[in-house]
Amino acid sequence: MQPYDTIIIGAGHNGLICATYLARSGQRVLVLEASGSVGGLAATREFHPGFKVSVAHTVSHFSAKVVDDLDLAAHGYTSAPAPMRTVGLTLGGEHVVLAGADVGGVSAQDIRRYRDYRRLLQRFADLLKPFWLKTMPRIGASSLGELMTFARLGLRLRLLGKRDMGEFMRVATLPARDLMDEYFDHELLKAVLSWDGLIGSKMAPRSPNATIMAMLYRMSGEHHGAHSIPDGGIEGLVKALHSAALAAGVEVRTGARAGRIQILANDNGLRARGVELADGECIDAGLVVSATDPQRTFLELVGVENLEIEFTNRIQRLRCDGFVAKLHLALNGLPNFNGLAQPDGRMIIAPNMDAIEFAFDDSKYGEYSQQPVMEIVVPSLHHSSLAPEGQHVLSAHIMYVPYKLKGGWTEEARARLCERAVDIIAQYAPGLKQQILHSELLTPADLERDHNVTGGHWHHTELSIDQMLMMRPTYGAAQYSTPIPGLFLCGAGSHPGGGLMGGPGHNAAREILGKKS
């Protein structure tokens, strides 16, 4: 008898979620994690003595169903009672503040328009919400269940009413900029509102593609997509997931890098039969589920010689270059932002949409902008154990920083970007530089190396029209099963995509278990 029914490669949140569902259905599950800890891009680690941080620093759309199904509350997880404010920073301190349905710092007209805008987008987000937790139909599918998914989407669209349905069809692939220009006057408001459509992607306000879809995806979350830091921090979320997995009987091995998915070949074809670790140890299992990114899964772990030619070429062409760098600062006190009583919101430095666009322009040619745009939080304000008493951690997502820098990522290039980012933040938070005990900048290439994610990509592979829904990551592997029987995918590279959400892990488990809903 095989020791395990299923081996899951990668203990990111999706791997843990998938594992827990399977174990709860009676499977014996082993999770292999290459790094020393669980959580993947959400893992919390010490980056300076006494200071801890996670790459992913807030949640916006973590699945409430997963929280319920896995009893995460019983494992210590509490979502934040209220979301954070999102603050568009200005140098003078006349910030634009978004808090729920309210917006401050803009004209009365923009306030009114914001209500309309939110109402419409929320309707669209609600329309799509059920589909993030469904398996997408196969292209050319003819099974009743698959056709029903299409039919349901059509029906829900129809139920929007003629006008809103038309609007949805019009808006879904619109550049964020066009939508913002239609609604608002305030430049900073427009930049802040488009942010959640752009972050993590190779897209800027003028890109027509999936930026609105990405916004709607995030808006499926608990507080209509407003960001929050759970009570125990991101660390608390990962701990709860880990604990739920262990309680369900999942075995988790860290420091165990999968080197190869073992494939059994006989007259009937290929079948995944286990995993060979990088150190040569072989472990058999009935099924293998990869929670790592699709390129890594197929090109490294499976190997092209086991794959079809056209499929391989589609995987090779997946767009996996990340454009977000991480800045971590250990501070000896609370940073003081002009005009902000407490830096407890999610602060965005992007004065207008052109600023975002220009930052993107440089990255297209392998450079980073001297005026990067960014999102900043001070997670230690929400989760005090991240820093010693009275001291703080500043965490920032910096856009757009190319994975492939012209001339390569040298120590010097990294240091220059770090300095530039700190300079910019210090313009908004004077005195910041004197507070810095330690700084760390992680480029997408660093994230790739440290977190074993190809390209250091936020979503493992671009979340764009050509790579989403029934095309995610590509047809032939978009229903969590793969061309290799016995091998499944369950990471951010699968539908619905990345971010701390849990959809891929949840959906994959359901497919593996052959359950209907």
Partner: protein, 409 residues
């Protein structure tokens, strides 16, 4: 208005880029192309026939004849990963191929539809040559992704190649001085010194597309005309003659070989769903080896094998002497139930039979097969319905095609 021609610009050919390329053997072939019957193949000027297609066909069958295969596509695939890469691309197992051997292969899309067929020459431990009818570089590049110790070179224009077929072909090569050529076995390769050049610049393989005794000669372009001259000098007493596309098409049909555009539609050029074919449909199941390591289209082909292909390519012996070109096939004489269609047909002079290749719905193979044949006689259109009989052997497969040494003529 009268314009005078600029004497300088008149020297410039405004259609230069559109004109057909000339094969390495063109000067000799042009001189013999009495009918100027040119068409094209892969951008090369290419003879349909030189004098008379039937005459050329009879040379192939009764003496010997040359067929220009310069336009055929030739690729060197070399490096440590060459074998693994090719073996994953083609359906046949090439892992056990010996050096200086040739094997017939086909390759398929992910869905198991045939992209093309061709031959693989194993020229060294890590060196192969792939030949095929249509350009294949893009597919080779795709197939090569992930195999790093590999180079692919398009040699199509860099190698002059001449097919030399017919019962007297071995005798002529011997007379030309190719010592030991009679020991070369079917699908074997030998190398020879030639024309005082250093080394062994002339490669000869015992291969061809006629189903008869025959060879293919491979040489660097600079020696192409010398090769031609030497061959034609040696062959003058043996009835040597160039033959074109028309005679090839007759000979290959008698041998039961398939042609793109006739029996199969190259999958990458097929627009309509499943208007291309699987090897099983083309009765090339013997080329598909499910015991070898993974190869492209495997899963789809396994299904095709187990479910049985919708159509099967068969050989037909047809009553009467009217070629069943483009005929529809029926399961009954009244022609109410259509079951397939003829892909290629001819009256075969050597077999003295009315033969055809046809695609028939697999489920009807056991029953009666009738062909509705249309034919013209001095502008009057006629049709008739005749019985067809399945043939399982090639129509033409003389013993000399396989014998080593081949019988002397």
């Amino acid at each position: 208005m009268i314009t005078t021609m600029n004497p300088e610009s008149s020297a410039i050919d405004p259609y230069a880029g559109e004109r057909l390329k000339e094969s390495h053997f063109h000067p000799r072939q042009a001189a013999l192309n009495l009918r100027d019957a040119w068409s094209s193949w892969n951008g090369y000027k290419f003879a349909d026939y030189y004098y008379d297609e039937e005459y050329e066909y009879f040379c192939v069958r009764n003496s010997c004849a040359t067929y220009d295969i310069c336009p055929m596509q030739k690729y060197y695939v070399s490096g440590k990963d060459a074998q693994a890469m090719l073996n994953r691309m083609v359906t046949r197992n090439i892992a056990n191929m010996k050096e200086q051997r040739v094997t017939y292969v086909c390759w398929c899309t992910d869905e198991g539809r045939m992209v093309d067929d061709g031959t693989i020459f194993k020229l060294g431990p890590d060196k192969y040559m792939l030949t095929c009818g249509s350009p294949c570089l893009a597919w080779l590049r795709k197939s090569a992704f992930g195999f790093d110790a590999l180079t692919i070179e398009d040699m199509s224009d860099e190698i002059a190649a001449l097919s030399f077929q017919g019962p007297t072909s071995c005798a002529v090569l011997k007379k030309m001085g190719l010592a030991g050529i009679d020991t070369l076995k079917p699908f074997g390769i030998m190398h020879f010194p030639f024309a005082g050049s250093s080394g062994e610049p002339l490669m000869v393989s015992r291969t061809g597309f006629t189903g008869d005794l025959g060879y293919e000669l491979w040489i660097e372009p600079g020696l192409a005309l010398d090769l031609w001259d030497a061959l034609y000098a040696a062959g003058s007493d043996y009835g040597i003659q160039p033959y074109g596309e028309a005679a090839t098409n007759m000979a290959r049909l008698e041998a039961g070989f398939i042609m793109p555009g006739r029996e199969f539609n190259e999958a990458l050029k097929t627009v309509h769903y499943q208007h291309d074919q699987t090897p099983f449909e083309l009765s090339l199941g013997w080329l598909v080896d499910f015991k070898k390591p993974h190869f492209n289209g495997r899963l789809a082909l396994l299904k095709d094998r187990d479910n049985g292909p919708e159509y099967t390519l068969v050989k037909l012996d047809i009553e009467g002497n009217k070629p069943a070109e483009e005929s529809h096939l029926y399961s009954n004489e009244r022609c109410t139930k259509e079951i397939g269609y003829v892909t290629s047909a001819m009256w075969s002079p050597v077999v003295k039979a009315n033969i055809a290749l046809a695609m028939i719905k697999t489920q009807y193979l056991q029953g009666d097969i009738w062909a509705e044949i249309y034919y013209g006689r001095e502008l009057r259109h006629n049709s008739k319905v005749v019985r067809c009989t399945l043939q399982d052997k090639p129509f033409w497969a003389p013993g000399r095609a396989r014998q080593t040494p081949p019988p002397a003529y």
